[in-house]
Amino acid sequence: MEEGVVKEILQGPLREVFDSTQLLTDVSGSGNNWAVGHMMYGSAYREQIVEKLRKAAEHCDCLQCFFLIHSMGGGTGSGLGTRVLGLLEEEFPEVCRIVTSIYPSAEDDVITSPYNSVLAMRELTEHADCVLPVENQSLVDIVNKIKHMSYSGKAGSVIKTDSSIISGRGGVSGAEKPFDAMNNIVANLLLNITSSARFEGSLNMDLNEIAMNLVPFPRLHYLVPSLTPLYTLADVSVLSRRLDQMFSDAFSKDHQLIRADPKHSLYLACALMVRGNVQVSDLRRNIERLRPSLPFVSWNQEGWKTGLCSVPPVGHSHSLLALANNTCVKPTFVDLRERFAKLYRKKAHLHHYLHVEGMEQSFFSEAMASLSSLIEEYHQLDATKRTLVPDAPRLSIAR
């Protein structure tokens, strides 16, 4: 809803890639206000948006999925973004909606980000098929980790040029801008998710299979992404050790795109999307190796979804993306609710929102309630973690 970013894209090397009639901008932005994005611009541009969506959909032989990419903390991405999500559900109810959401870190400089995030969360819970939450802080940590590796100059820790996940190698743009490194990580996430749909492999994994396998209950669709490798070391180490290390890393906290601790929470389901020259035996060996240390919910003890794509990402010989539906997202949401509550208790900045036509205080309380009930659902599942749930008694057949 402001022009700067889109203009820059149109002037950059990717200008040919985007259809200029499919762009929608305004001038003044949303002022970091979810209500302005969702209600004001949402209503003003509803028809144009639907028209552009239809146009894009008509070009497709077979429309499989929508990707929505936005941040939660601001006004446009968060407010207008979730309005668009609702429109997608209305206009294209059968098409899968996968949302990549950048969640604000605790130290976020936008004061109203907790409001925006919680208001948006409710929309995500109700209208998205799958959400991949990404935290800026995790991206920063990963970037720092890589930079530290490259600059430390320790023997055996030299990174192969342009192989790191933040390098944007293989991309079109040249010079690095701020946030480029972090954004590259998210770009890699999306590349890996779509790799099996774009390239061949011995065990293909389509986008609609992601939602099918990883979402056991409709609202619990928040998937923790983790990417490995972050970089490839220049020295040649034994391939199978590198492979095994890659699998171990996928379950380490350093490689996750949100700050959470899946190993100490409960896995509902987990998907492993492997790219490159990795065979099914490598996959099996590693699953067997890692499985004992990962707590899975009682009714999904072998809950793994696996995909093998033969084509590795640029600059690497293989890579792994793990998507986990794990109750470890609960603390992130609890935290978000805390920050929201802190502001809401004091009614801080509320008037900016209530000013907007169509916005009412009930939106706030309902969004809070939605978040609380989501947290409760995760909590219930967590509670089963320590208990030994007996197998359900089988049907007995009369003879």
Binding site: C62, N204, M212, P218, S281, W299, Q301, K305, D391, A392
Partner: protein, 443 residues
């Protein structure tokens, strides 16, 4: 008489391509013999230029695998798939049986039936249909079940054999147990016989017998194709009067699947070794058959780690099930011997009444087919197709895991979205518990 194969989904198409490859090369080893002619007639259609075109239809809901299989066949230079004998869509079934069965199946019914009809019409005489698929995914399982139903409707008098690949126990698809249960329950009433390969078993064969270090799905598929090929290639049967049987599927079904409650067939082949070792090995029929018999009795799926302690019960114990839990009782067995000196092979060990249930005499329960032609470079090879308790434990595990998941209603909303109800799930569970009970009660 010819067999028309329908390859469904990624697994069905990948395994199918390896199967035709082996069938073609094996037949060509016996150039210009009656074996070769019979095999070609059975599986391939010859064009006016003498090219071999597989009697197969390739179906998938996304294009990559079908294209790959066709390209690979083309590259072999020996055979190919028909130019128009395939159908794919762009979307895939999302690992959802209901999506395959309720949406894609009906939507594309006319096209698929037409493709099969054309292949059938190219046959002088139809020996039967074979559908190849996995049970874990969405297309093979869901669309595959729907297509089997259609074929049953259109060809009520033809034999339909379903070849199923069961997934690794530790999971390839999270909802694999649901998809498997729904598939098996439905196929049980539609199919004449269900021939099963388990990825776990084949994987072990690859690692322990073939010594493959980095096992890929191609390796697994090739083993499956080898075993399946050894069942399907021409053989001389008791009823074929000195010629290669013209009714392979019919004879397979009548030998093994004589009772509607018992349709699950497992396969084991001996010997299996890396191609580099074959040249240095010699085999005797007594040795091979002894091992194979013990593999059957102890339910070991390969010739390593056989438990020689397991024995069938002595005659006096027959009426009470005093056998140890590891004894594998059979409903029926079919032994297929291929290679040198095949007529001298002594198969009496398989006629022991102790191996079988009381309601079938060994004469009815046991059959032998023979072929003097070596199969797939093995000088001598023996294949046992068995209707026994061999698949009981894997089936029971599959049903148990699916039931546990169902108890929590996890993922059910994904199926209901496409038209399957909880009732349908319950019906499938009931059918399979029946099958499990039937096989358990064999002891």
């Amino acid at each position: 008489m010819s067999v028309v194969t329908v390859q469904l989904g990624q697994c069905g198409n990948q395994v199918g391509q390896e199967l035709f490859d082996i069938l073609c090369r094996d037949a060509q080893d016996g150039q210009r013999t009656p074996y070769c002619t019979a095999s070609w007639e059975r599986f391939f259609h010859q064009t006016t230029h003498g090219e071999l075109v597989a009697r197969a239809v390739l179906i998938d809901m996304e294009p990559k695998v079908v294209n790959q299989s066709r390209a690979k066949a083309e590259r072999s230079g020996q055979w190919r798939y028909g130019d128009t004998s395939h159908f794919s869509q762009k979307q895939g079934s999302g690992n959802n049986w209901a999506n395959g069965y309720c949406v894609h199946g009906p939507r594309h019914r006319a096209v698929v039936e037409d493709l099969v009809r054309r292949e059938v019409e190219r046959c002088d005489r139809l020996a039967g249909l074979m559908a190849m698929m996995s049970v874990a995914g969405g297309t093979g399982s869901g669309v595959g079940t729907f297509v089997t139903q259609c074929l049953r409707d259109i060809y009520p008098k033809s034999f339909i054999l379903n070849h199923l690949t069961w997934p690794y126990g530790t999971g390839e698809v999270i909802v694999q147990n649901y998809n498997s249960v729904l598939t098996l329950a439905n196929l049980y009433r539609l199919s004449d016989a269900i021939l099963v390969h388990e990825n776990d078993t084949v994987h072990r064969i690859c690692s322990q017998l073939l010594n493959i270090k980095h096992i890929s799905f191609s390796d697994v598929n090739r083993v499956i194709a080898h075993q399946l090929g050894s069942v399907l290639q021409p053989a001389l049967t008791a009823d074929s009067y000195g010629c290669y049987s013209r009714n392979p599927l019919g004879e397979l079904v009548s030998a093994l699947a004589c009772h509607p409650e018992y349709k699950l067939l497992s396969v084991c082949t001996i010997p299996q070794m890396s191609s580099s070792s074959i040249a240095y090995s010699t085999f005797s029929w007594p040795g091979l058959l002894k091992h194979l018999r013990q593999m059957l009795i102890s339910n070991t799926k390969m010739e390593e780690g056989i438990d020689w302690q397991v024995r069938p019960p002595a005659a006096s114990e027959r009426t009470r099930s005093l056998t140890g839990p590891s004894f594998n009782r059979s409903v029926a067995n079919l032994l297929i011997l291929r290679g040198k000196d095949v007529y001298s092979a002594e198969t009496g060990g398989f006629e022991d009444p102790a191996l079988y249930t009381s309601w079938l005499s060994p004469k009815e329960a046991f059959d032998v087919w023979k072929s003097p032609m070596p199969f797939n470079k093995y000088e001598k090879s023996a294949t046992l197709v068995s209707n026994s308790q061999a698949l009981l434990r894997p089936l029971d595990n599959m049903v148990g895991k699916a039931w546990n998941m169902f108890a929590s209603r996890a993922y059910i909303h994904q199926y209901i979205k496409f038209g399957i109800s909880e009732e349908d799930f319950l019906d499938s569970f009931t059918s399979l518990e029946q099958v499990v009970a039937s096989y358990s009660q064999l002891s």
